[in-house]
Symmetry: D2
Subunit: 306 residues, 4 copies
C-alpha cells in the first residue's frame, strides 16, 4: 500500500494542471496549490500516508457527512421531512431547485440541505453548544482531541457568505428553519471551518467503510443500515453536479469540500482521505479525484467490481 | 435462495397498494397489475425464480442498458460527446434540461439520452438493420434466440409518442441527431418493445455483475472497467429522479422500465430481474423496488456493505 | 365623472368575491376587506372621489414607481446596468430568474429589482437619510406634507421579510448591492410602508399622465421622454406576472401594491388611484382591477384606443 | 411626413451596424442586409413611403397577428383556454415554459402559442383550406389580391423546422393539438412565408390603429374592444423577450418577424410598416426598431404621451 501511495504521489507531483484554489472565501484563496496528501486506514488500524498528510486544511463540506450522521441519530427518518435524498443536477449553491420545491432542499449535501441539517440538530441550543457537540463527535470519530475550528476561516466565510445567507433566508420564508437565521448560519460556517489533516480525516470516516462500526476499537457509531444509507447519499450527491462523474471514474462513495479535501470509503476495505487545494470547474479537488482514480485502479476497490 | 424468493413472493402477494400500471402507452395499460415475478442467476448458472417468471413483459427502458453497451463498443469514450453522465434531477421525459444545455442530454438513461444513444449506433443504417443488431445482442446476452419485439406495443408507442418525438426534434434542432428523426424514433420505440421474462432478463444482465464477463460461459462482453462504468450509470441514473431513493433503499445498480421490470446487479454475487406492472409516482415498479429491498436485506448484497 | 365613480362604487359594493387580503405581512392581514376607494384627478386639479378615499392604506410596491423616478434622476441610463427592463414572467418574489441572469433583476418592479433600485439611490447614506429623501419626494409629488411611514407595518415586514432578505443576499453574492444588506432592506421595507389615501396617491402620480409635468402647478418633475419610459415600465411590469392581463383588460399603465392599491395613469387625461384590500391570486387588487376596467369602459381612456 | 421618412431613411443608410440576417432558415439567409423600407398609412388613405417599399419580404411572425385576429373571430374568449396572454420572459422558441405550464403556451406570439392558434382555426380542415382562408383574410385587410405565399421559404422552413416540430409534438403530448402535427406545422410554416411589401403590410394593419375599423373604407374588421386587446398583446409580447425594450424605446404596439419586418400601430394616428433584414440578438429588426424610435421622436405618437 505504501508503494502504491508513493507512486500516486509521485505521479501527482508531475501534474501541471492542478485546478484552481477556491477564491470566494478569502482565507482559502491563499492556500498553496502545490500541496498534496493522501492517507489510507485499514481495518486493523494500519495507516499509510503520502505527501503533506500532517498539514491541516479546512474540511469545508466534508463536515456535512458528520452533521448528517448526528442528525440521523437525533431525528431518524424524520430528517427526510426536512431534506430530500435525490441528486440535484444543480451546482452546490443553486437556489432554483428550492423555489421549485417549496424551500425543501434536494439532499443533505448541497449547501441548502446542509444548512437545513444544521438547523435540525440545534434543538433550541445556541451556536456555541451545537458547535461543541459537532466538534466533540468529529474528535470522537477520529480519536483525536486536538481537532479544532479555524476561526479565521469561519469569520472569512461569514463576511462573504451572502449566497448561503440567501439560501437560509429563502428556506426560512417557507418556515423551514426553526432557529434564528444568523444562529444557523454561524453554526454552519463554523462547522465548515473545522481543520483536519488527511490522517485524522481518514480515521474519522472509517466507520462508514465498515457498516457503521469502527473496526479498530469495535465501537459501533451507527447501525449497518444507516451506514450504508449515508454511503449511498455520498455516492449519489457527494460531489454536487459532478457526482455522476466521480462515481463513473472512481466508483467509491465520497464527499468533497472546497478546501480541496475528499473523504472516500471502500466498503469492507479502507477509509481514504486525499487533499489537494486546486479545484475543477464544479468545485471538487482536481488532483484528489485523479489520485483516487489511480488508487482504485491499483486496488480494484470499486464498489461496482465483483 | 429459493426460500428467500418464495418468502418475498408471498409477502408481495399480500400487498394491496401495488402502484399504477403505465397508462400513456395503451398497449401497456391493459396488463394485469397482480402479476409478480423475480429471478436470480448465480455465477455458476443456477437460476432461482418465483412467481410469473416465464411470463413475457415489455422491458421498455431496460433496453437502454443494452444499447448503451453497444454504443460504448462502437464509439468508446467518444459517446460522451453525445450524452452526459450526470443524474438529471428531472423526470424521465423532461425537456427543460435539454434547453439549458444546448440539446445535450444529461445521461443515457433519460429518454432524450437514450434516443441520442440509439442515433449514435445506427451508423447510417436503416431502422430494421439497427433493430436486428440490438435484438441479436440481447439474444446473445441472454443466450436465448426466442426473444422478440412486440409489434403491437411498438405501434402503440409510435402513435402516442409525441413527447419522445418532441425530444428528438429538439435535439435535431441542435444538430445532435444524425439520422432522420422518424428513423431514430422508430428504432427507439421498437427496441423499447422487446419482450422478455424475468429468467431471460436476469441472464442478459449477468455480465454486469461479473466485471463484464458472463461467468457461466466465460465469454467476455466488455472490459471490467466498462462494466463498472455502466453499473455506476445504472446506480446514478437508472431510476430517473427516483435514483437516489433506489440507491438509498436497495443499494444496487439497477435499471427500471415502465413495463414494470427492473434489472439489478449485485457485483460478484448475482444478476436479478424482478417484474410487477404497478408503478410508483416516478414511474418505477413499486413492488419490484420493495422486493429488491427485501432481497438485499436477506442477502446483504448492498454495494455499500462491507 | 362623479356619476361614473359612484356607479362603479355601487357596483363594487355588490361584489361578493373580493379576493384575499395579503396575509404574509401580519400588519396587513388585519385590514377590513370590505373597503373600497377611487380617486381621479384631472389636469386642472379637479379631484373626484368615491368610497373611503380619505382612508390611509399601505402603498407597498406602488412606492417602487417613486424610487425608480428618483433613481433615474440620480443615475440616468446608468441605472440599467443595475436592473433590466423586461417583464419577468415570474411571480414578484421569484429568485429563479436571478440565478439564471447572474443576480441582475429583470425589471425595477419585481422585488429584487426594487431592492436594487433602493440600493442605487442610497449613495453611501444611512437608511434614515435615504428614507427622508424618498418621503420628501412623495410629499412633493402629492403636495401634501402629512404623508408618513407606518412604523408598525415596516417592523412587521422586517420580521417576516425572509424572502426579500434572500433576494438581497443573493444579489449581494454577485456584488450587486453596494450598501450593507440590512441597511438596504431596512430602507426598502420602510418605503413600502408609506401610508397614503387615494386622493394623495392620485395626485402623486399626476406627472406621469402629463409627460412628466404636474399640470396643476406646471412643475416639471421629469422630461417627457423619461415620463413615457416610466409609464411603459408600469404597463409592461407593473402587475408582475399579471401585467399582460392588466394591459389586456384595463389598457392603462399601472402599478399595484399588496396593500390593495393601484396607481394608474391615462396619458393626457387623468391620474387614477384605486384601493381595495382583497387581492387576486397573483397579488393585485381584485376589485381595484375591476373598477379600473369599468372606468376605462366608461371613459374610453385605453392607451390602445384611437 | 414624407420629409420625416426621408430623413429617417437617410439616417438609416448611414448605419454600419445593421444586425445579422436570420440564418437558421436557409432561404432567408441570402437576403441583402442593406435594404430598408418604411411606409406610413394615415386614416384618409394617404400612404407615405421611403426606401425599398415595393420589395417583397417574408413577413414571418407578423402573420401571427392575422391568425390571432381570425382565431378570436372564430373562438372568441374561448381561445384563452388554448393559449395565455402574459409576456413569457423567454426567447421565441423556448420550450421550458411549456413544460412548467403543462403544454399551454404563455401567449399567442411565441412560436408555441402561434402554433396553437393555427391549430385552433383549422377546424378539421386540410392545411390547404386553412391557408386559403388566412391568405384571403390578409388580402382583404391589405385590399390587395396579389399577396402570395413564397413556397421556397415555406419548404426551407419545413426542412429545418425541428425546433417548431418539437414545440408542436410537446403540446400534442398534452393533448393540446387537435389536428395531425404535420398538418398544423405545414399550415404554420406556410403562413409565416407570406410575402408582402411595406405598403401592403401597413395597409393590412390599419384596422388596429383605428379601433378595429379600416378608416379608408369604413369596414369594421373587429370590435373596438377586440382591437385594443390585440394591440395590448402586441405591445406586451410582440417582440418576444425584447418586448419591454421595444415598449421602452418606441412606445407603440408592434409585431416583428425574423424576415426583418415590423408592423406598428399608432392608435388614432397611423399604421406603420418597416423592414430591414438585419436582426438584433433577440431576433427583432435592428434598423426597423431604430427607425420606429426616430419616427416616434418626430411625431410624438407614443401611446404613453399625453
Amino acid at each position: 500500500m505504501q508503494d502504491i501511495l508513493d507512486e500516486i504521489s509521485a505521479e501527482m507531483r508531475k501534474r501541471t494542471d492542478r485546478g484552481t484554489v477556491a477564491n470566494y472565501i478569502p482565507q482559502l484563496a491563499c492556500v498553496d496549490p502545490n500541496q498534496f496528501a493522501m492517507s489510507v486506514v485499514l481495518p486493523d488500524g494500519q495507516t499509510f500516508s503520502t505527501g503533506d498528510a500532517d498539514t491541516l486544511f479546512s474540511i469545508q463540506s466534508i463536515s456535512k457527512v458528520f452533521t448528517l450522521t448526528i442528525a440521523l441519530g437525533k431525528l431518524g427518518d424524520h430528517l427526510w421531512s426536512h431534506v430530500g435524498r435525490e441528486p440535484s443536477g444543480d451546482p452546490f449553491n443553486s437556489i432554483v431547485q428550492l423555489e421549485h420545491e417549496q424551500g425543501k432542499p434536494r439532499n443533505p449535501f448541497i449547501n441548502a440541505g446542509a444548512i437545513a441539517v444544521v438547523d435540525s440538530i440545534m434543538s433550541g441550543h445556541q451556536p456555541k453548544e451545537s458547535l461543541a457537540e459537532i466538534l466533540e463527535f468529529v474528535r470522537f470519530l477520529a480519536n483525536d482531541k486536538s481537532i479544532c475550528i479555524d476561526e479565521k476561516v469561519a469569520r472569512s466565510e461569514i463576511e462573504t457568505g451572502h449566497r448561503n445567507a440567501s439560501l437560509a433566508h429563502f428556506m426560512a420564508s417557507f418556515d423551514r428553519i426553526s432557529h434564528p437565521v444568523e444562529h444557523v448560519l454561524g453554526t454552519y460556517f463554523h462547522h465548515c471551518s473545522i481543520s483536519m489533516n488527511c490522517k485524522q480525516l481518514a480515521h474519522a470516516g472509517l466507520f462508514l467503510a465498515f457498516d457503521g462500526t469502527n473496526p479498530i476499537y469495535g465501537t459501533r457509531v451507527v447501525s449497518p443500515e444507516r451506514s450504508r444509507r449515508i454511503s449511498s447519499l455520498m455516492l449519489m450527491c457527494g460531489h454536487y453536479d459532478g457526482s455522476g462523474e466521480f462515481a463513473f471514474r472512481v466508483g467509491l462513495p465520497g464527499k468533497s469540500g472546497v478546501g480541496g479535501g475528499i473523504l472516500a470509503v471502500a466498503p469492507g476495505e479502507a477509509s481514504i482521505a486525499v487533499w489537494s487545494p486546486g479545484l475543477d470547474k464544479i468545485g471538487n479537488s482536481k488532483l484528489g479525484t485523479e489520485a483516487l482514480e489511480l488508487l482504485v485502479k491499483h486496488t480494484g476497490w470499486s464498489i461496482f467490481a465483483k
